[in-house]
Amino acid sequence: MLARDDQDSLKKTPLHGLHVSLGGKMVPFAGYDMPVQYPAGVLKEHLHTRGQAGLFDVSHMGQIALRPKSGKVEDAARALERLVPQDIVAIAPGRQRYAQFTNADGGILDDLMVANFGDHLFLVVNAACKAEDEAHLRANLSDDCIIDSLADRALIALQGPKAESVLAKLCAEAPAMKFMDAGPHKVAGLDCFVSRSGYTGEDGFEISVPAGDAERLARTLLENPDVMPIGLGARDSLRLEGGLCLYGHDIDTETTPVEAALEWSVQKSRRTGGARAGGFPGAEKILAHFDHGASRRRVGLRTEGRAPVREGALLFADATSGEPIGKVTSGGFGPSLNAPVAMGYVPTASSAIDTKLFAEVRGQRLPLTVAAMPFVKNTYKR
C-alpha cells in the first residue's frame, strides 16, 4: 500500500501512458515516474541510438520563456547575463547556447540551454532544479522580464544518425537546421519548438510540443522502423560516452565552470578584458580560475580492465598511497566502446591526457588513464 501511495505522489509526463503501454520499467526520477528502460534493455537501446535513432521523453525538464517587458529580446538577454557567465546577447535569433546559472561562490546552480526565439528567450533547465531555477529567475529578472513557465508542453528528444531523415518526413525544414539552431517549427502540423541538439553526443533534435499533442507525435515518430523508445538508463550511458556533464553529479554548487572543464562555454566577452566581463554571480572566483587556473579539473577516465568504476570511487596517484587525490563523479559501462568509462575530478597537475591513476573499487586499486572526452566522437551537423 505504501509503495502505491509513493508512486501516486510521483508526477507523470504527458507520455506516461505511452511508456507503460510500451512496457517501460518505471522508476522515480526527479519527482517523476519515468522509464529507466523498455523491454529491449539498456544495451540495445544505447546501440540503437548510435546506429539508427532513439526517442526520449524529456518532458520532466523545465521549459521557460523569458519575455522582455520592453519587447526587445536584447533586454531579456542582458538581464539573463546577470545570472550566467555566458554571452547571451550574442545568441543570434534562431540559435541556442549552453549555459550555467552560477552562485556567489562561483559554483553551478544548474546547467541549461538558452535559445533566442526572436522576441523572447527559451530556456530548458534540469527537472530536479526547475522550481529553484524559476524562483531564481523571478527573484532577479522580474523587473525586466515576464518569466513564463511552459508547464503545458512536453519535450521529446530524437537522437541518432537517422534522426534527420525521420524528422524530415514530419518537418521539411529540419534537414536545413545546423547544430544548435533552434526555433518554432511545424512538426506533423503541430506548433513545436525544434532545436538541433541533445544529450547523447549524436546528431539529433529536441522537440517541444503542446502536452495534449505529445503522445500523438511520439507515436508517429515511433511508427518509423528506425526509431526505438529509449529510457533513462541508456540516456545516461550515451551522455557519459559523450563526455557530457550530469548536473548534481559531475557539476554542482561546489564546482566552477573552469574546474568542470567547461571553459569553452564561457565566451571571451564575459571573461577578463571582455566587453561585458564579469557581472554574473561568483564572477570574482570564476574569472580568477580563468586567469590563474583552478587547482582541480574534471577529466575523462578509462580503465584497463572490464570492471566499471562508478560514481564515488576514490582516485589515487599510485597503487599504495594513502591519501586520495580525487573522486569519480560518473562512471559505468560504455556499450559503444564495449568498455568502462568514467569522469571525475583530479588535481590539475594530474589532469593531463595519459596520466596514470588508480581507483579504489571493492578494496582493490584498479589502474586508470586520463583520457580525452568525448569518449565517442560526436556527430553534430555543424
Binding site: 529507466v36 528502460q37 534493455g41 539498456v42 544495451l43 540495445k44 544505447h46 538508463g233 541508456a234 545516461d236 550511458s237 572490464r306 570492471a307 566499471p308 562508478r310 559505468g332 559501462f333 556499450p335 568502462p340 571493492r362
Partner: protein
C-alpha cells in the same frame, strides 16, 4: 541426483553431495538488465554464509552475489568471466558463478525450494 535451492537474495544452488554450484536466478538477471562484468571468487577462498562472494554489474549498477553457504571455493566459471552476457541468456545453466564445498549441511535448512522461491518473487 541434484537438488536446487534458492536464497531470498536470488541466488540458486544446485546441490550434488557436498558440493553446491551457485549462480543468480533468472528473476535476478531480468531485474539487473544487461550484464557487462562479473567478478568471481578465487579458487581456494573460504567464504562465510552471506558474505559478498562475487559481483555482477549491469550497464547501470553493481550488485553483490552472496555466499549461500559457508565453504571453500572449488571452481569458478572462467567462461562467465569472459562472457558476462551469459547471465542474461542462461542464468540458471551455463552462467553458474562458482562451486563451493559445503562445510555445514545444516545451513541448507533455511533455503527455499522452487515453489517457495516462486512465491517469494511473485
Amino acid at each position: 541426483m541434484t537438488t536446487t535451492l534458492y536464497t531470498s537474495d536470488h541466488e540458486w544452488l544446485a546441490i550434488d553431495g557436498d558440493v553446491a554450484t551457485v549462480g543468480i536466478t533468472d528473476y535476478a538477471q531480468s531485474q539487473l538488465g544487461d550484464v557487462v562484468f562479473v567478478e568471481l571468487p578465487k579458487v581456494g577462498r573460504t567464504l562465510k554464509k552471506t558474505e559478498a562472494a562475487a559481483v555482477v554489474e549491469s550497464v547501470k549498477a553493481a550488485s553483490d552475489v552472496y555466499a549461500p553457504v559457508t565453504g571453500e571455493v572449488l571452481e569458478n566459471n572462467a567462461a562467465l568471466a569472459a562472457e558476462p552476457a551469459l547471465v542474461n541468456s542462461d542464468a540458471q545453466g551455463a552462467a553458474w558463478f562458482f562451486k563451493i564445498k559445503i562445510a555445514d549441511k545444516s545451513e541448507l535448512g533455511g533455503l527455499m525450494d522452487e515453489a517457495a522461491y516462486k512465491a517469494h518473487t511473485a
